[in-house]
Symmetry: C2
Subunit: 336 residues, 2 copies
DNA sequence: TCAATTATTGCAATCGATTGAATTTCTTAT
DNA sequence: ATAAGAAATTCAATCGATTGCAATAATTGA
């Protein structure tokens, strides 16, 4: 059913039908009714693509997610989709994986589909490959990067202050009398490096590093894929060899922390009595395991809500700052 | 950059440029080169919507997911997106929630966007509201329902035989000497009802029900939202009151099973020594908790891979049967 | 009743592609 | 050199909408 079919049936022109559809003024009430009736009868739905061609607006938003199977990425996608749909936009979502080349590929699809804006979610969107691709393919459309920065004219960032959050985790542990702290991370993403800096700052503030009896340990080269529980187990085993007196471990992710707790338990070390463990991400896994995990919540829902609204502000011409920083929250549970 | 801009620049007509883009025959090699060079230079990308208008093909596939935050739904979305993108289609994915009205709403958006096919994932797509909406809005495009049936001309189903799977779970438990079995479910979805039937059949086959000492218990009205761990705890507490001698519990989902195990442990009942527990869904949570959960894997990846290929077969005119049934697999871990 | 307004409606161009048919250009053979 | 045939290119219509401007219909006042 096209606008012409309706027009013919109603004995009017397509323009009139169009005006009824978009309820513009200057249509006689009787014709409006007649046309509307046919519209309903034939269950007419406008071809959004054809309309978009004239109006030069696709009403599409592109969403690139590094791994849709990661729970906080999914949470983000969910929130953004909600907000965008509410505003009449339709989201095109891709799960890109860590690979930069595939990211570039998806960015090209977003260009072809003429998205009006885009949101990137993940830890690996700050790379040069992505930057070039955005510059080349998305140069004139606004892009919001969640937890990252791209440093291009039309890009915006929503960040979560994990550095400060980690610092607060250190404070929490020292406050509970812990003295030998370690930071465990699996891969050097910008986010993980930030947490590392926060850890250092926290140590300094607590006087641990300066007092000479503080310990910082970072374990690399363990087996198991990044972000896996397996990896956490290996790294913890290695850490315990190097630093047997450790009594507090900060892990870069909940998955790592779960592996950490598993290894500690396996070696007969009581959590939290002998060693306290803190994760990051507030995953359901961390909530359900035993002991349940104290974690640094990086608020994926709030962050992506902010990202969605930032993009909508840009699209609707409201003034927007290019950078927004939100705060984390420590969720205390049994592991500390 | 449009096809006309390139044409003017190259001193040829738009038709020629179009033919170069779609590399059709009958273009002199020298002009092809000249045009291609400009195409590259200006980084031209065709407007997919405009092309779609002429070709009457959007190359869009609609995906409706009940809850994108549920891990096996997400896994499904991921697999389908991969396959579709590989074949040149772009997925439009919506997270609909359980509500039938919202599902109908999203189905209308799919119609507006002129999707060429759709895939529905979730347990609540068999309702009358959805049926009507599909009939009205998606009548001429193929729809594949994962784990459900819609009984309309252009619809297809990929099912997983959870009934038989549950039957096998009962067999596994009786084989291990368990005699007092219970089935725990939170909500009467078609899938859960199927598992219930499988449980009954399994009981009959094992001679338990007929021998007079088998037990079937279904607990309703417990607190906690559907699908939550909390709910599993409550239902288990209630179950233990009604049936203190239970020694094997089959749960409709892993979440329920995790709550079940938690409650058993809380009451000092050893898992699996005193009571064996089996979940369904093979979630990461079930894999990580203590004791790790024996579970019925309903193969979301395989099921959705099959669904994607079924839809592609229909779209590309290959012969397709309207129904495909796959088998589950029991993953044995510590809880049995 | 008729011109002057004003309220409705229709015409035709446009968006950015594709494609069958018509036309122009280039070969080749006579 | 020229007609015939093949090769390359262009023309013009089309897809399904929107919208400024022109045209028509209805209303008003004198």
């Amino acid at each position: 059913m096209t606008i012409y079919d309706i027009a013919r049936e109603a004995g009017v022109s397509a323009s009139t039908v169009s005006r009824v559809i978009n309820n513009k003024a200057g249509i006689k009430e009787s014709t409006r009714k007649k046309v509307q009736k046919l519209l309903d009868e034939y269950n007419y739905t406008p071809d959004v693509a054809a309309r978009g061609l004239v109006l030069q607006a696709s009403k599409f938003i592109g969403i690139l997610i590094e791994d849709i199977r990661v729970s906080h990425h999914t949470e983000s996608a969910y929130v953004i989709e909600q907000e965008m749909t509410r505003q009449g936009y339709t989201c095109i979502t891709f799960s890109t994986g860590a690979d930069g080349k595939r990211k570039a590929q998806y960015i090209e699809i977003l260009e072809q589909r003429r998205v009006e804006g885009a949101i990137f979610i993940g830890s690996m969107f700050g790379t040069e490959a992505v930057r070039r691709s955005v510059e080349q393919h998305l140069s004139n459309i606004p892009v919001v990067i969640v937890n990252g920065t791209l440093d291009l004219p039309n890009t915006y960032s929503v960040l979560i202050d994990e550095e400060r959050g980690t610092e607060e985790c250190v404070a929490l542990l020292t406050q509970k009398g812990r003295k030998q702290l370690a930071y465990l991370m699996d891969v050097a993403t910008p986010a993980n490096e930030k947490k590392k800096r926060g850890f250092h700052t926290g140590m300094l503030r607590s006087g641990l590093e300066s007092a000479g009896h503080s310990i910082y340990a970072e374990v690399d080269g363990a087996t198991g894929p990044r972000g896996s529980v397996e990896r956490g187990r290996c790294e913890t085993a290695e850490l315990l060899k190097r630093l047997p007196d450790v009594d507090g471990i900060l892990c870069a992710t909940d998955m790592l922390a779960i592996g950490c707790v598993q290894e500690l338990k396996r070696q007969g070390i009581a959590v939290p009595e002998q060693v306290a463990v803190i994760g990051v991400d507030n995953t359901l896994h961390g909530q359900l395991c035993t002991p349940s995990l104290t974690t640094l919540d990086n608020k994926p829902g709030e962050v992506s809500f902010a990202a969605a609204n930032m993009l909508l502000d840009v699209l609707q011409g409201r003034p927007v700052s290019h950078k927004l920083m939100l705060l984390t929250e420590i969720i205390q549970r049994e592991s500390t």
